[in-house]
Amino acid sequence: MAKEYVNPQLAPTNRPPRPVNKKMRLKESGGVASWLMLSPSLVFLCVCSIYPFIWIFRYILYNYDGIPNHTRFTGMRNITTMLSDAKFWGSVGVTFEYALLKLIFIIPLALIMAVLLNQKLKGSSFFRGVFFMPTVISSSISGMIFTFIFATGNGILNGILKSIGLISQPVGWLTDTSVVMAAVIIMSVWAGFGNYMLYFVTGMTSISEDVYESSRIDGANGVQTFFRITLPMLAPVLKVVLMLAITGAFKDYEAIMVLTNGGPGTRTNVMFLYIYNLIFGTGSNATRQIGYGALLSLVAAVIVGAVTIVYNLVAKKLDDVV
């Protein structure tokens, strides 16, 4: 900057120097301070986000079990293993099944509850708080709570169903492959629908009251009002919420890990859980496959990304049609 500084008295008259200099000085002030203030978040960004991401690429072609000098370059072997890894592709299938089922239940439920709360019934804000409450509980703890509820022998769900005579034999909610997915879905819908409900409630408050009033004057009933007014006017919010819900559902694994740990067998083994066990697993086959896990993580991230892109394309198409 010193080089650019020109004594005003010597400056060429065709370029007024004062405003320029003033602007420079204002911009200059706090240059060092601003970098210092930004540095903690930049360090965090580098260490917690960029470094792990690069680290993954370093290991995708390696065999690595967590002991530093055991690292071995294996060429394309991880990739060929992946292509024929039925367990992995099975877990991808489970992820899609889980995500689809979760969305089918959680979105309509959140929407219905939002509509009901929007009716301004007595205690609406209390109900809103109650419905949102599960989302503040750690997913590990909610997984645990449902392990107790769904327990076969002494779980309270079987106890209640038995006492009202719906079942005679206890149901193996977490041990029977035909019902375990239902148990997982119940838990994840319980734990998550409050989030989406709140987005819908917020979206609905921005719909003008006049629209409802005129529809009432025209004699629309509740159902008509919902399909003809609320839903179309909520479309932008719905699109965002669906996107969040889709990516969220594909990333779930913490609560499932606690509830079923992927079992029985691999019935609820979603892909991120499978990968977790490859990288941090302490099971009987304690041979960790970190390099392979890194490759699968990347593939999983690409799958989630692809689903998001497809969803966006479909949403755009629907926009054109409607």
């Binding site: 978040s41 503040v136 750690s138 997913s139 645990m144 779980g155």
Partner: protein, 290 residues
């Protein structure tokens, strides 16, 4: 159906429908509360009763021995201390780091700003799952800081910072720049403007961030689980109570696990009840701004 200040008169039929809807909401609310109620009430039951099962959610006789046992024998005093350290640590670091970064991003123009901002955004969407914990774990081991809970605090705060930075930046944007200029004329430096002018005005958004980051730290599970795999005395509640479940004799200690799970959810529920406004406000603000 309307929120006009003028009272709306409902026909008897509408009243009946609204009554039914209300009843439905009450029933559904009970259903939502049930799991939490079950775990809290169950923590006062005797283990014998828990292992027997049945359909009664109220204890036959109320006992607090489970809490005494959990606290003294099952290490829950240590877990609770760790949980507090983790959540308060993440909260303080998040507040300081994100408010400074949000302020700089809002007020400064400098080379590479867009690029840095873009990287922040990109990493909000890139999710590779638990694998990213592995390099962080190895980093902590190499730096020999893995004998404390601090790496978990730091990495958790670092992983969650993007949302909070966006929240702060959005809020600082809405503070008129004239305030900065007035302060500068009065002789405030860049940092002093942040500290004396911006910070006090950021209070609402800082409250939201405080709540959200506290919850983040309190509920963190996978990361502390990985980092404390071999060190029981560093575990927070979420991990400690789950390790009890995984232990071979877990089936026998239902009462301790119920008490432990209750200890893990009660504080965050109290925070939620007191500050539910910020919880819910933060969620939607983050969605709009992020």
């Amino acid at each position: 159906m309307a929120k006009n200040k003028a009272q709306i008169v409902y026909s008897p039929r509408q009243k009946a429908i609204r009554g039914l809807l209300w009843l439905f909401l009450v029933l559904f609310a009970l259903l939502v509360i049930f799991p939490v109620l079950y775990i809290i009430l169950g923590s006062f039951k005797q283990n014998q009763e828990l292992l027997l099962g049945g359909s009664n959610i109220f204890p036959q006789s109320w006992i607090v021995q489970n809490y005494v046992d959990a606290w003294n024998q099952a290490n829950f005093a240590v877990y609770t201390k760790n949980s507090l350290l983790l959540s308060v640590g993440v909260m303080v670091i998040s507040l300081v780091v994100s408010s400074m970064a949000g302020y700089v991003f809002s007020r400064k123009t400098f080379a590479g700003k867009e690029l840095i901002y873009g990287i922040f955004t990109a990493f909000m969407f890139i999710n590779v799952g638990s694998v990213s914990l592995r390099p962080l774990y190895e980093l902590a081991t190499q730096m020999k800081i893995n004998t404390s809970l601090w790496p978990v605090v730091l990495f958790s705060a670092g992983g969650g910072q993007a949302t909070y930075i966006f929240l702060c930046r959005g809020y600082v944007n809405s503070v008129p720049k004239e305030l900065d200029e007035a302060a500068r004329i009065d002789g405030c430096s860049f940092f002093q403007i942040y500290y004396r002018i911006i910070m006090p005005m950021l209070k609402p958004v800082l409250a939201t961030i405080a709540i959200l980051s506290f919850r983040q730290g309190w509920n963190e599970y996978i990361m502390p689980r990985v980092f404390t795999m071999t060190n029981d005395s560093l575990r927070p509640l979420t991990v400690g109570v789950n390790m009890l479940k995984n232990a071979g004799d877990g089936a026998a200690a239902w009462n301790i696990m119920f008490a432990g799970a209750t200890i893990a959810i009660i504080p965050i529920l109290i925070v939620f009840i007191c500050f539910s406004r910020y919880f819910m406000g933060g969620l939607t603000a983050g969605a709009v701004k992020g």
